[in-house]
């Protein structure tokens, strides 16, 4: 009852205006058989103090990166977020507005979205970007659906097995009911990259697109040159999926390798991990494909007096106009997270993003070397990597407990998704892992 401002006399007066006697009269037209069973059986409402205590006690049961040492990536990354980011996204003017359908009173949101689209273009090296979709996984699925629209008549979707396993699941789910599509997985090579030879063999004139991670799920930076060439030979579109976009401040971006559609998860750029959501999916492509893109696009225009302003545009692609023929069903997206990323990228800027990426790469490379040399772990893949890498930890199941009792989660066990990778951990090192944590990690692995 806390948030309804109606006093008894308000109610009475309003009912009087309406011409009713009691609140129940408002629902008299609802079948009483329904009304009788409609009471909700839940506890009574709580005071704000009680709510905060209850929620704090739930929160306290969880192992958070504040108290634990996490070496966890795999699509969600623990990075430094300047306090400025939360200060902006907490502003009611951003947080409590709707999708900017009324541009005259939404220039705040629209301008920021336009800036975001530009930032994503700059970061990915692509020509156009939309203002975000649900997450990296659905971005990947939407990219495949877009390829399907562009590659009429082709039916095969080739997905690298080194792409994030959950993303592969989501792509499979999105495609499961589309009878004209067939999904094929391409194996990975000993480097940890997609097996280019296997891909070349799998490609034929029915292949509409190839989807690879960049870097991929093993943290390995794919060599996109042979993949691009293989695609070109059969006319397939090349789609990259980046779960750690910070890497693109250091690596040659998808656009530089001629990628057609570059998507990914944006969480790493200024959004707290929050158990994996909300974050957002970013979605960029070559300009010629723009009218096939899913999601909202903001464009520049002017008012009658020539003032620059921004509006949602090319809406004829979207569900509210095109309905069953829309490029996607997406409506509510992840705007506030997109805003967080916009503020994050603006604050770090050109040099800050580069520096942060360098620090990640340097720490991860030092850590890998130490773990191999000092703790005797075995490398699993040979490909270049950014801030994640896979190492073999013999007898992992038995050694696991030691880490937990030290409040360390040293990585993600890969055997759940890759039975052939028993005892293999995907280990991520970011700027949040201080030298001394890496030291402790190595020590714990050494059994010291």
């Amino acid at each position: 009852m806390r948030y309804t401002p109606h006093t008894p006399s308000d109610k009475e007066q309003m009912l009087g205006t309406i011409g009713l006697n009691k609140i129940e009269d408002l629902v008299e037209h609802i079948p009483s058989s329904l009304r009788e069973k409609a009471r909700i059986s839940l506890p009574e409402g709580l005071t704000e103090v009680a709510v905060k205590r209850r929620m704090a006690s739930l929160a306290a049961k969880n192992a958070s990166a504040q108290d634990w040492r996490f070496f966890l990536g795999g699509g969600i990354y623990h990075h430094a977020i300047p306090s400025a980011v939360d200060a902006i996204i907490s502003r009611a003017e951003f947080a409590t507005s709707y999708t900017p359908y009324q541009p005259e009173v939404s220039q705040g949101t629209l301008t920021a979205m336009y800036e975001f689209q530009t930032l994503i273009c700059q970061l990915t090296g692509m020509e156009v970007a939309n203002s975000g979709v649900y997450d990296g996984a659905s971005a990947a699925a939407e990219a495949v659906l877009m390829a399907r629209r562009l590659q009429d008549g082709r039916r095969r979707v080739l997905v690298s097995r080194a792409l994030h396993p959950q993303y592969r699941s989501v792509i499979a789910t999105y495609l499961r009911n589309l009878e004209d599509v067939e999904l094929t997985e391409v194996p990975f090579a000993p480097s940890g990259a997609t097996d280019a030879a296997a891909l070349a063999k799998a490609l034929d004139d029915q292949a509409m697109c190839v989807v690879v991670g960049y870097p991929n799920f093993f943290g390995v930076v794919e060599d996109l040159v042979p993949l691009r060439q293989a695609c070109d030979r059969t006319g397939a579109l090349l789609i990259t999926v980046t779960t750690e976009p910070l890497s693109l401040a250091l690596l040659k971006p998808p656009g530089a390798w001629g990628v057609d559609i570059a998507v990914g998860e944006g969480q790493s750029l200024g959004v707290p991990m929050t158990l994996g959501g909300p974050g957002y999916g970013f979605f960029a492509a070559q300009k010629k494909f723009v009218r096939s893109m899913p999601g909202r696009l903001v464009g520049e225009t002017v008012d009658a007096e020539g003032r620059r302003g921004f509006v949602l545009t090319l809406s004829t692609r979207e569900q509210h106009i095109r309905r069953e023929k829309a490029t996607s069903n997406i409506c509510t997206s992840q705007s506030l997270c997109v805003l967080a990323s916009t503020v994050f990228m603006s604050t770090l800027g050109k040099t800050g993003m580069r520096r942060l990426a360098e620090v990640n790469a340097a720490r991860a490379h030092r850590a890998r070397e130490r773990l191999i040399k000092e703790a005797g772990l075995a490398p699993v893949f040979s490909g270049p990597f950014f801030n994640e890498f896979v190492l073999k930890v013999s007898g992992w199941a038995e050694r696991r407990g030691r880490f937990i009792s030290n409040k360390i989660v040293p990585g993600i066990a890969l055997s759940e998704w890759y039975p052939e990778l028993q005892d293999s951990l995907l280990i991520c090192v970011t700027e949040m892992n201080e030298e001394e944590e890496i030291e402790q990690l190595a020590r714990t692995f050494s059994g010291r």
Binding site: A56, L58, I89, A92, S97, S138, G277, G352
Partner: protein
Amino acid sequence: MREPSAADDGRRSNLPLIFESGSPGRSGFFWPEEKGPSGLPAELLRDEIAGFPEMGELEVLRHFTRLSHLNFSIETEFYPLGSCTMKYNPKVNEVVARLPGFSLLHPLAPPELIPGALELLFQLEGILAEISGMDYVTLQPAAGAQGELTGLMLIRACLAERGNPRRKVIVPDTAHGTNPASSTLCGYEVIQVSSNKQGIIEPQTVEQVMDESVAALMITNPNTLGVFEKNIQAIADVVHKRGGLVYLDGANLNALMGIAKPGDMGVDVLHINLHKTFSTPHGGGGPGAGPVGVKAFLRDYLPVPRIHKNDGSYELRTNFSKTVGRVRSFFGNFGILVRAYTYIISLGSDGLEEASRMALLNANYVRKRLENTYSLASTEPSMHECVFTDRQQQKQGVSTLDIAKRLLDYGFHPPTIYFPLVVSGALMIEPTETETRETLDAFADAMLAIAREAREDSALVKTSPHTTPVGRLDEARAARKPVLRWEAKKD
């Protein structure tokens, strides 16, 4: 610099973009250089990110704070956007969601390390099932539309197992655009059916198209005219009798809490928009969450992982052979689920039921105050929103768009306009329960004043808004020659 002059109206428009500000080499981020090489081969490294912003921390904050002033929002203006449930987004939810024990959790940490999170998810599933009258709930979908897709997939998987996934989905002409779009995405063909003059669906209408080729009917209740689909049970019978299933678009659940449970209406699957009924902030277009509730017979098709309670502890299970799979990475929009849960325990059953009742009261009050001046789209009783047309104002050449823009001058966000599509010039007003009578009166007064202006000085209305940071924007130009990103001026 903003040049004050005759043109200077204090509107503060034309702020420079982040790319048009700053100075080369500037950054708002401080991190000492780290010794040691990045370890990556040089040929993989890019050049600097051309065009990227170069601003200081204060500069960035000032930019975005100024931008924020160009927005209308719930906390600054009344925002009666129909179908969007722009209710108050409680501050305590924001505080709670930022606790490190929620915001700093990693989804791939071992599940035994996040018992509090799993408990919350498990409980929220149960709560949403209780409120909606369904048996099981999945929290994975990121928003309503993804919930629709998920729900249709469940239906399809179930029918496929029964022998035939079927080919079509029936969607009323009043439905939200996501309904047909989701149907297509699920591999179905859309059959649109017409609502009657009062905007509701009649059983005969469904009967005429319902056959063995139809997998499901998608229905919204209350529908997008704010009217309760009083025949819903009869319609469900028709669908069920011919082997189809009933999907309820639960976007309007805010009208129903404690009043009628979808689960009692013959509904087999529904989605709920937590960013509507359960008060999570809209954020300028998300994030939200679109949980899906089902009847027991659909349980095995639900997305994985699912949470099980075992002797007071919680575990994740994925071994369901019939599952449609995963629709979203990890656990969905967990941070939004935390907020919705907070809202629900704050209100409790009494508070939730009162919320729906007051939502109805507010909508009917506005309806009453405007119905002599604006034409109602339906004379059926209104639930949580009411829809008008511009029929009377069109006589003066004033359209719904003009009325919407003029409202901005009065300091109100306009209603949803031109939706539902079946109503010509629709003005769809959803006040929500968190608004005061005084605000509704002020809004109604403004609407009446605009109707008067339409008669007396229609140009004033047609050239509005006059007081916003920018005037009406040329949307046609934006679409004709799209400029979708900033680029450095070449010179």
